[in-house]
Amino acid sequence: MADEGREPLDVRIDSEGREGLTGTTPASIYRPLRDAEQVTLPPDGKPMDAQPAWRTDFPIDWPQDQYVERRDFMKFMVLTSLAFTVGQFWIAAKSLVRRGNRAPSGVRLASTDDLAVGDVRTFAFPTEHDPCILMRPADRTFVAYSQKCTHLSCAVIPQIADGVIRCPCHEGIFDMASGRPLAGPPRRPLVRIELDVRDGQIFATDVEARTV
């Protein structure tokens, strides 16, 4: 053929039907050019489109490998993004369930005579799986909190003489009067149980979770 030995041109650089145009020569006379970016040649000589997926996913030349690893990392990040979104909706679902399970109002805990100053009593509120502590630090003062530390849910221990509630797991310290964290890893106050003292009886009326 007359064009044997002629250097083929990149078919992508010119207008449609006249790609690689020199003079009036139609583009169709040139041999199709191998992909210049395809550094690696498959052993069977077939084009990359005809190769198995693993061969394109595990290239052996650096530029293609860097491209593939960034692309795959981006896929992983999008998957992570999906996981975070699922987590958000899981929290929303838990919130709806919690809203549906309101704490029972007016559960009797003890009589004021049963609890001397400095005494502590445990109880469960609002469900049997929520351990709480009722304390009487002063004659006319009754306080109750959830017994779960707001750090990692260890059982907290009241130290009435010191006016604090201590978590032995990671040395978290809470103020007995307010339930707010004073030291250690906890950042949120203890969940407070609202009390109603009437006619010498102590009732738990509600649960108050707080962020600060």
Binding site: R12, D14, E16, E37, S81, F84, F89, I91, R210
Partner: protein, 78 residues
């Protein structure tokens, strides 16, 4: 006459780097949203849960759109 040429590998590498940077920022934002929402939920504050879920979903849609575009430019090349 303009011609639509497929992106070269160098161009695609630049595009994927740019998209990856954007996706990482969005994922970090989602992580912050998740931790802040969990803290609010455990503290009894339910008011932020729905807006945070909507924002997280918007981030996911943006990320998925970018990934879709990446597949699109790969298909264009073939």
């Amino acid at each position: 006459m303009s011609i639509r040429r497929p992106f070269t590998r160098g161009q695609r590498a630049t595009i994927v780097n740019g998209m990856l940077a954007f996706v990482i920022v969005l994922v970090i934002l989602q992580l912050w949203l998740l931790t802040a929402t969990m803290n609010a939920y455990l503290g009894g504050d339910d008011s932020v849960i729905v807006p945070a879920a909507a924002a997280s979903l918007a981030c996911l849609l943006l990320n998925a759109g970018l990934l879709r575009y990446l597949y699109h430019i790969e298909r264009t090349r073939q």
